[in-house]
Assembly symmetry: C2
Homo-oligomer: 325 residues x 2
């Protein structure tokens, strides 16, 4: 990491995590940790599933979004918040803004699924549509911010968001003793960065792994290359994991992650179905990527106590991936 890059970033500290946790506690769940005898037998490890699928808006992203929203001054808050996302960050920011009672605008491609649009509106968000291209999205988003003065809450490359996501592993450490490792899915790297922030601060002996779809393995390739590689339009069933690392998340990933594993689409869907079938809980495809990689790399995890972050549970129940094959 060159010093010139560092100068442009505000890197959150563990004090920021403690402040975030205090700030967001009224608006989030302390999610349960579940175990499964059968999945332990299958993997040879002791797995502790941190169930962010039971989180508000069914996504860990409520943690970071709430920290950003409730950290605004009264004056800033009046102008509202804005983001561009068609996924869990859009829902989560809409939820958090609704809790504070401030405006929230989400720029979404007009082609986004109606269910996602409905969910944002259901949480009180306003949608501004753009064309499904980066140039249109950026132009429309710039207009929204210029007009409203809304605070831009990036889905992951934002120190407030990372400090919020970091509260998840802080909870996990209070719920499970003597973990050897924690593994989380990686897309833009917000959850993994938060995990790095907490563990490197208070439990540096715990290894941190990331899990990524092979079809969107830009983080794994970045990790091996030593610099950020961004793919243009990867396609994977784990739709929360298509986005690339950015400077802030790269800082954490490059400094604290032990390894990044990948899984094929079939492995991800199989792991997702396995969680549904055996644990009787609903998780989205992204949440299943860590288990898929644990099953694929038994020697890394055998005999270890492993925290597994189940990142969310937003699934269209009418189009399950194992029924579309």
């Amino acid at each position: 990491m060159s010093s010139s890059t560092e100068q442009t970033m505000t890197i959150p500290t563990y004090d920021d995590v403690l402040a975030a946790h205090e700030r967001i506690k009224p608006y989030i769940h302390e999610t349960p940790v579940l175990t499964s005898r059968l999945l332990n037998e299958l993997t040879g490890a002791e797995l502790f599933f941190k169930c962010e699928n039971f989180q508000k808006a069914a996504a860990f992203k409520v943690r970071g979004a709430s920290n950003a929203v409730f950290g605004l001054t009264e004056e800033e808050a009046k102008k509202g918040v804005a983001t561009h996302s068609s996924g869990n960050h859009a829902l989560s920011l809409s939820y958090a803004a609704g809790q504070r009672g401030i405006p929230v605008t989400v720029v979404m491609p007009r082609t986004a699924p109606q269910a996602k649009k409905d969910a944002v509106v259901g949480y009180g968000g306003t949608i501004v549509e753009c064309e499904p291209s980066t140039s249109s999205r950026e132009a429309v988003f710039a207009d929204v911010v210029a007009e409203s003065g809304a605070d831009f809450v990036h889905p992951y490359n934002d120190p407030r968001v990372i400090a919020g996501q970091a509260t998840c592993s802080r909870e996990l450490l209070s719920q499970v003793d003597n973990l050897d490792a924690v593994i989380a899915p990686i897309g833009g790297g917000g959850m993994v960065s938060g995990t790095c922030l907490t563990l490197s601060s208070i439990a540096p002996e715990i290894k941190i792994y990331a899990a990524e779809p092979l079809n969107a393995d830009d983080a794994a390739r970045s990790f091996r290359a030593g610099h950020i590689i961004a793919d243009d339009a990867p396609n994977t069933v784990a739709d929360g994991l298509k986005v690339p690392l950015k400077d802030l998340t790269w800082h954490f990933v490059s400094n604290h992650v032990t390894d990044i594993f990948t899984a094929t689409e079939e492995e991800i869907v199989d792991a997702m179905k396995l969680i549904w079938k055996r644990m009787k809980i609903i998780v989205e495809p992204s949440s299943a990527v860590p288990l898929a990689t644990i099953l694929k790399n038994p020697d890394v995890f055998k005999g270890k106590r492993v925290g597994v972050i189940l990142t969310g549970g937003n699934v269209d129940l009418d189009t399950l991936p194992w029924l579309n094959n």
Copy 2:
């Protein structure tokens, strides 16, 4: 209830429930109680969902089956246990017998779904097939018992089974204060009888409701008629609820249940999908019948604190009922 009927029955007492709970504790989960802000808003009630879908074998029936299996003497146990069932009782008895390491034989129609057969075998059970008729099932089952001397564990009309199921509401009372009512699905009436046994003994102020598919409403009609009415072959998506009341369960239902409500197939499937979507947990159709009837009878439940038994989570993930319509 005539005294002549009572003479043929052994009615379990609350002491039997306490003994059952002590006996089965090593083999069952104390299942969690979940709540949902949205479902509370939709119903106007405070709902406390007792998650037996997270139970061993994903069914409350493990409680009664384990009580029967672990209550056998060493000599009785050697001969094993047997039952006829193609549902959760078959899985549960197989699980419990496997835990004790004794033989278990399940008589199933040769037409039963392969997935159910695989599950019984997976838990260590032996399947003996019969033709899909009552006469064949009874003849084959009689042969099995005559040959092996196995102990017959009826799915519900057995005092050991009812005392076991009664541990579920005992747990619920230790987890939630000041309940006004408890509602459970009713098929043969094992869970409802267990609920009656516990509540009438230690919390008689709590009302007990039962919920039944309209397509298999023999319990509701029995309740109104004042005697058992058994339907021949009802057809409902809630496949655990097709069986009729028997003398022992009728004893509890007729003495302690306040009312039995019914729901249509569509209402059951809608309620099931609502639980999946909002609570992010997997429940089988039978588990959704109580919520369907609560939504349908808001005046009964409004403002009340209601325990809702989610009885199981065994679903074929490849054939979801809302995708078959």
